[in-house]
């Protein structure tokens, strides 16, 4: 057991290092010099150099080859890459644009993202699970076909079309609720969209998972000894379906934090989504890098946690 957890932990460390490497390549190495966006070129080279030095953009990219391979000297490690690693792990980056600390910005904005994503995820999950159970209960009937058909139809409408459609509807019904957070209850509109747009795919996935279980021997045994069908479905089958369903929930964790990027942007909710998109437009590298790293790290840790929990509850996984 301990060996399994340790092995998974080492894997997670490697993955997190990989994410830092990938974000470094994507955001620091490829885009090159972004100073022109923040320092007016008319101020001359001195101003630009000062800005570069302040943000440590003048340092060598990966290793300081000026001191060759004298890795015992601290300046050998004084490079953009190692500052990037340090900033990623300590979250002490500052925005190029506002010079605010990342932790402060995230603390201010995360509550709006969470206010949207937590209810959306909880409601969506509950609704999809209930519908999937009912559909699985009536499997093979016209009701099953109708609901599966509706789920597929729902999946095929572009997300953007849902947002535009619902916003237009709200605009006609109650214009103040169509944009912004002037009234806190406005949050229900994007929550509803997230639930409606996501429920089709979830229902279809959960239905497949449940039907996989329904054909197993223990279900036949339970039926044979006279357990009523709802009892079999909701007590026995559902419990065994939890593994893939929980995994699908954990993989949604990054969206809790980064928010529904598009929804927040579209409905003018000042969460982390618009921050990310705005920072991309402004080439605000520290913010983009660290937000990406934050979501990836949370995702990795979430998967690690579920794997460990599975191993605790299911001995077959431990031995693999």
């Amino acid at each position: 057991m301990l060996a399994f957890i340790l092995r998974r932990l080492i894997q997670a460390v490697f993955t997190i290092f990989g994410v830092m490497l990938l974000t470094f390549i994507l955001f620091r190495a490829i885009p090159g010099d972004v100073s022109a966006r923040y320092v007016n070129p008319k101020l001359g080279k001195a101003a630009r150099d000062a800005w570069m030095e302040r943000h440590r953009m003048n340092l060598p990219l990966v290793l300081n080859t000026a001191v060759h391979v004298q890795f015992w000297k601290p300046e050998f490690w004084n490079t953009q890459f190692f500052w990037h690693l340090r900033q990623s792990l300590t979250f002490e980056a500052r925005s190029f644009k506002t010079d605010e600390k990342l932790t402060k910005i995230v603390a201010e904005r995360a509550k709006y993202s969470l206010a949207l994503t937590v209810p959306a995820m909880a409601l969506g999950w509950l609704l999809a699970l209930v519908v999937a159970c009912v559909v699985a209960y009536f499997r093979g009937s016209w009701f099953d076909y109708l609901m599966t058909f509706l789920a597929v139809l729902g999946m095929c409408v572009p997300y953007l079309a849902y947002m535009i459609g619902v916003q237009w509807f709200m605009f006609n019904v109650k214009p103040t609720a169509a944009w912004g957070l002037r009234y806190p209850t406005n949050i229900y509109v994007p929550v509803a969209i997230a639930v409606i747009a996501g429920v089709g795919a979830s229902v279809r996935f959960y239905r497949t998972v449940i039907l996989d279980e329904v054909n197993r021997d223990y279900v036949r045994t339970a039926m044979a000894k006279g357990v009523p069908l709802p009892g079999v479905l909701f007590r026995h089958v559902l419990r065994n379906c939890m593994l893939p369903i929980l995994t699908s929930l954990v993989t949604a964790i990054p969206f809790l934090i980064i928010g529904s990027l598009l929804l927040e942007q579209f409905f003018g909710i000042p969460g982390l989504g618009p921050l990310m998109l705005g920072s991309i437009n402004d080439r605000d590298i520290p913010i983009v890098t660290n937000l990406t790293f934050l979501t990836a790290a949370l995702y990795t840790l979430g998967l690690l946690l579920t794997d460990v929990l599975y191993a605790v509850f299911d001995p077959r996984i431990r031995l693999r």
Partner: protein, 308 residues
């Protein structure tokens, strides 16, 4: 499992022949496949028919609702929305096709190599795809578009690709970011096939491992590639719509459903419904068709999923 080319007998069927027979019997699959073919035809033919569409301004007829002369109305420059929608098929199909032409072979090769050779190489490839997969899809896509912003490939040659603004940036970004699923499935499947007797036999007669892998093993996982190709199309079409909304799409001047839906956020309020309607309808139909084709392909090609 029967392998294609197995010596004949009365009921010897290859996997592909069997799958084709199953698909032909399935009316929904045939209908959806016909829709896909129709879209592909539209995508190929329309750019030739209306090659001057982008400049066909008609300022006397801007923003007209549907009429007999313009069946789906006109846009803000007086151009036909029906033509725009049909030309948009070309953009969507190109993005979907090119993205998957990059992603699927990449996934198959990486997955096959990892699964067959194992060891350090496997560790490296698994680490690589776990890392890529740990960044959520949309952010991954935005990130690579961000990195591409000022990149121009093959500058000053006939093959010039402006990754920051053109269509090529969208499909290259999509292709580079969506191979993980294929890779993971192919790796798992190759690890199973590696242990089969025919691979051992090939090894025993001294076939080089690279030949065993690409000649004898990979053909048996190609069905995973085909399934992921059709499902990846759905992802690419939806991603194009989202990227357009974020201003990271195929760029102005190229008719695209994403840009049309995005433009409607201002249009609907003033009652111009025809542009979003035709774009959503076009997107909806092709996504539905690819979804069903992909599902049926999976049922037909992956015998383990069949219920006895």
């Amino acid at each position: 499992m029967t392998i294609s080319g197995a010596p004949g007998g009365a009921d010897a069927r290859s996997l592909w022949g069997d799958a084709a027979r199953r698909l032909r019997r399935d009316k929904a699959a045939v209908a959806c496949f016909a829709v896909v073919v129709l879209y592909a035809l539209i995508a190929v033919v329309c750019p030739f028919v209306w090659s001057d569409w982008a400049d066909s301004y008609d300022y006397d007829n801007i923003n007209r609702p549907p009429s007999l002369t313009h069946p789906m109305g006109t846009d803000e420059f007086g151009r036909s929305v029906l033509q725009k929608t049909l030309l948009g098929a070309s953009t969507s199909m190109t993005v979907g096709f090119m993205a998957n032409i990059i992603a699927v072979p990449l996934g198959i090769v990486l997955g096959a190599v990892a699964g067959y050779y194992g060891g350090r190489l496997d560790d490296l490839i698994v680490w690589f795809y776990t890392t890529v997969a740990s960044i959520p899809g949309l952010i991954r896509l935005i990130a690579i578009k961000f990195a591409f912003a000022e990149t121009v490939l093959f500058a000053n040659t006939p093959f010039e690709m402006d990754l920051g603004h053109g269509m090529s940036g969208v499909y290259i970004a999509l292709g580079m970011m969506s191979w993980v699923g294929t890779c993971r499935l192919v790796r798992a499947e190759v690890m199973k096939i590696r242990e089969l007797d025919y691979v051992l036999a090939a090894r025993a007669v001294g076939t080089p491992s690279i030949v065993i892998l690409f000649r004898h093993v990979v053909p048996n996982v190609l069905h995973i590639g085909i399934i992921n190709f059709s499902l990846g199309f759905v992802g690419a079409i939806s991603a194009e719509v989202m990227l357009s909304y974020l201003g990271l799409g195929v760029g102005t001047g190229i008719p695209s459903w994403g840009a049309m839906i995005d433009a409607a956020k201002m249009d609907l309020v003033v009652g111009r419904w025809w542009e979003i309607t035709s774009a959503v309808a076009a997107t909806f139909l092709i996504v539905l068709a690819w979804n069903i084709v992909g599902d049926r392909l999976r049922d037909a090609l992956d015998p383990r999923l069949r219920t006895a």
